[in-house]
């Protein structure tokens, strides 16, 4: 399988392609921060996950590990099809399309995230992680750390519970990118465990959001202060 892929894609093409994918994944994460429609957020998440699938695949090809191929397959199945499907189903159920108000306005949050990313790139490059620890790529390292922070930021600034779930998934994607970058191949058991967690998480949080909508008539977390029987 690996030599098969290597036959069609020379090493240089893989490097070139991966550098594009890293840039695109980074841009998509920022666009998710500034995204108003919840449905578009899920779509962007699919694209982001697909980028990570490709990066994992390429990392597997470069390091000749079949494990990474399996991981990328699981990610493709889970994050590009199953979880988005569940999330879309939940969105259809709760009939809420867009985020009207956030704690920080969306353009401002995009600008904040932008400066955060510049800081992350500066720190991770200057701290010399790339020299002391063997990583696949320092850009991927900075991107994954930024993605973790972006996910945290989305969870902090959004009022809708659904958007907060998306923040959690962005964070998880960042962790996946970080593991691919630093330890190249996670043990399959660990990866499958994480995948199962996420799947159950999507189900549970979907039901949770639906129940909140049912009993409070909103999914704004600010409204969750009153006790309801």
């Amino acid at each position: 399988m690996i030599s098969f892929i290597n036959h069609f894609l020379p090493v240089q093409a893989i490097q070139q392609l991966s550098s594009y994918i890293i840039g695109i994944v980074l841009v998509i994460s920022i666009l998710m921060t500034g995204c108003r429609r919840l449905e578009t957020m899920v779509k962007l998440f699919v694209f982001q996950s697909f980028g990570l699938v490709l990066i994992t695949l390429f990392a597997g090809v470069m390091n000749h590990s079949s494990n990474a191929l399996l991981v990328s397959g699981i990610t493709l199945f889970g994050k590009c099809f199953l979880i988005p499907w569940i999330l879309m189903f939940v969105l259809q159920k709760i009939q809420i399309r867009r985020e009207v108000e956030t704690y920080i306005s969306l353009p401002t949050s995009m600008l904040l995230i932008c400066s955060l990313i510049a800081l992350v790139f500066e720190v991770t490059t200057n701290i010399g992680i790339g020299k002391e620890v063997h990583v696949l790529s320092t850009n991927l390292l900075s991107t994954s750390i930024s993605m973790i922070l972006i996910g945290l930021f989305i969870m902090m600034t959004r009022k809708k519970a659904f958007a907060q779930i998306m923040g959690l998934y962005v964070m998880e994607n960042g962790i996946l990118a970080l593991t691919v970058d630093t330890i190249f191949e996670m043990p399959l058991v660990v990866e499958m465990g994480i995948f199962l967690d996420l799947l159950i998480g999507a189900l549970v949080m979907g039901i949770w959001v639906y129940r909140i909508k049912q009993s409070f008539d909103t999914i704004n977390v600010e409204e969750l202060r009153k006790l309801k029987g």
Binding site: S18, S19, G23, C114, A118, F121, T125
Partner: protein, 324 residues
């Protein structure tokens, strides 16, 4: 300092003439393409020239409430755009004019024209003109940094702020030129360029509906020859932005040497590149509806962010096992 030869002067005049002659045609071409996409017939391709001819034969009516700013503005706008056309590479790159300035001069020549246009629009005291000029200022505040930052990515790559130097450096690179930073800069410059041209997601050049227009709104009080001059200037600006996009992001096929035998194929190739960019812009225009004014800033902030990411990625060269 290089010496300006007779040949260079001829090239400068040639470039000016081509920009002057081509710009009404390109505007009509875009209208025609859009009409074809919407299965309408569209104007004849020479309509831009007919319009100019008509405007220059008409009498100019100037309100007696206005001062000299109103009269002088069309000339300033036109001249600033013409000077800008000297530093934007079209089908020849006049590297001898490097003392004129580079990217920053280009952006602020557009800015100068815009400043005078806005102040002239406020002169007659018409409500729509004032509204349009305040909108234009808001847009320009958002467009300028995006254009500057995405052009700075190219500056970082080429090591110069000079457009002809950048372009000749870019064309000396092969396919390796297409780094992620470069592509992201292209995307954000495309968005900013469309905003600078005042085209659809930001402003609709065809509407005269008072509440939505931005650029057209500022020209409401102009008439006759002055109006023709303003229209011509905005068409030239549009051509310049298009050729900037075409030449910076497909930097091949123009004549670097000032030899006459190179110039003709370069000119043909330039026309093809412009045509492609026009098709892209028109396609975007047909697919997307005009955005509400208060949403415009969201799009421009997104493109600003993309340009910053392009800058960050191209500053931090990646290292590591994959060296992605």
């Amino acid at each position: 300092m290089k010496i300006i030869t007779l040949q260079t002067i001829c090239l400068i005049i040639l470039q000016l003439l081509v920009v002057l002659a081509l710009s009404p045609f390109i505007n009509t071409l875009m209208k025609k393409l859009k009409a074809i996409l919407q299965s309408r017939q569209g104007p004849p391709l020479m309509q831009g020239y007919y319009d100019l001819l008509k405007y220059f034969h008409k009498e100019t009516v100037v309100s007696n409430q206005t001062s000299w700013v109103f009269l002088v503005t069309p000339f300033i706008v036109f001249t600033s755009v013409l000077v800008a056309s000297l530093i934007v590479p079209t089908f020849v790159t006049i590297t001898q004019l490097y003392f004129l300035g580079g990217i920053i001069l280009l952006i602020y020549l557009f800015g100068l024209g815009r400043f005078f246009m806005c102040s002239a629009a406020m002169e007659p005291g018409s409500g729509f003109c004032g509204m349009a000029s305040s909108r234009e200022m808001m847009l320009s505040m958002l467009i300028e940094p995006v254009m500057l930052l995405s052009l700075f990515v190219l500056t970082l790559m080429a090591g110069s702020t000079n457009l002809p130097v950048i372009v000749s450096w870019l064309s000396s690179q092969g396919i390796n030129l297409f780094t992620p930073g470069y592509v992201l800069a292209a995307i954000s410059l495309l968005i900013a360029g469309i905003a600078e041209m005042g085209r659809v997601p930001f402003d609709n050049p065809e509407t005269h509906y008072e509440l939505t227009m931005i650029h057209e709104g500022m020209l409401l009080e102009y008439s006759g020859k002055l109006l023709g001059l303003m229209f011509w200037a905005s068409w030239i600006k549009q051509l310049l932005v298009i050729s900037l996009l075409a030449n910076l992001f497909f930097p091949w096929g123009y004549s670097l040497s000032l030899h006459w035998s190179n110039i003709l194929p370069a000119f043909v190739f330039y026309l093809i590149k412009i045509f492609v960019v026009c098709i892209v812009v028109v396609l975007i225009e047909t697919m997307i509806a005009k955005v509400r004014l208060f949403r415009v800033k969201d799009i421009l902030v997104a493109s600003f962010v993309i340009s910053i990411i392009a800058l960050v990625i191209s500053i931090h060269k990646s290292t590591g096992g994959l060296s992605l």
